[in-house]
Amino acid sequence: MTAGEKKEYWRWQETCWIDESKNWRDAKIITAGIDVGSVSSQAVICVDGELYGYNSMRTGNNSPDSARNAINGVLEKSGMKLEDITYVIGTGYGRVNVPFAHKAITEIACHARGANYMGGNTVRTILDMGGQDCKAIHCDEKGKVTNFLMNDKCAAGTGRGMEVIADLMQIPIAELGPRSFDVDQEPEAVSSTCVVFAKSEALGLLKAGYSKNKVIAAYCQAMAERVVSLIERIGVENDFFITGGIAKNPGVVKRIEKLLGTKAVETKLDSQIAGALGAALFGYTLMQKQGASAKAA
């Protein structure tokens, strides 16, 4: 890093992946889900209702461009063209600004559907810890939402809050979780109702002689307490699944599990793609229904 260059500690890793074992050219129905969130955008492509590939990247200042960039990443990697995709569904904050989408569905329904695919049909409670909001969702065995609650009034308990702390501590965001366990004693949580207050408290703790790791632990605990109070309003029914970027932060996840007294279902897939994956699966179901009605007619 040269002098004067500012390191962006909050910057998380963007990923693009395709399943090389599948040949999309053999597929009957190709669907895509585009989740344009407040902080990140994802594009997921499903072939015949199975995950084929995805791209997860930072949302820019223009929703249509974010949607195009997200899908272009997967298209380029797979050799597919946009015209090859049968149906596209937009979701997330920018769902109505996806220029090539045929339909928009809320991220609440899409996250439930995505979690049902990623965590299995025994998942009943979903916690989506997004960039600028947090959602607690109950669903049935088909991934249909039965109860939901969201908090998007402030950044407390969201990914953006974690990014603020990463920058404040000057520690890469991916290291925050593991470092939060490297403390001799678990500290009291900082303010859980406001990121600005939490940041002020964190600064105060640093000045009082707390180590960076201890301050991070205090913030992870605050975030966990914040979302647990949200999820307890609708109740926890096993299996429990966490989606969104914060699901990758063990410092928050382990503390949530401890407070709730239950373990979250683990997945090998990227927790950030749940919304886009759910959207792509909705598209597949819709296409199947249309095919069935066309045959019946």
Binding site: V145, L149, N151, D152, K153, C194, R233, I234
Partner: protein, 94 residues
């Protein structure tokens, strides 16, 4: 589906819960639309293609203030929205 609209902040939890299963065959003639003095409710088509009541987006982050005129402190003994919704779909958390 139970849809909870609202928020939690430093002053408390403010949620309006709507049991949308009771909305699909509303026997109150969508009375919530006119019962709320501020017109906070609307009928939307949800993600499962059902026509259900919802709190308008513009009010979801200010319920504590917007609903205060209908609370006991303002002289009401019951909430106009909950009373008008005879199927019992609408509930306030505070």
């Amino acid at each position: 589906m139970i849809a909870n609209y609202g928020y939690k902040d430093g002053s408390g939890e403010f949620y309006i819960s709507i049991d949308t299963d009771k909305c699909t065959s509303c026997s109150a003639g969508r009375a919530c639309l006119t019962a709320c003095p501020k017109g906070m409710f609307e009928i939307i088509t949800d993600d499962y293609d059902d026509e259900v009541a919802a709190v308008k987006q513009a009010f979801r982050r200010s319920l504590a203030f917007d609903c205060s005129d209908c609370k006991p402190a303002a002289g009401y003994t019951s909430l106009p929205c909950s009373t008008a919704c005879t199927p019992g779909a609408i509930k306030h958390s505070w």
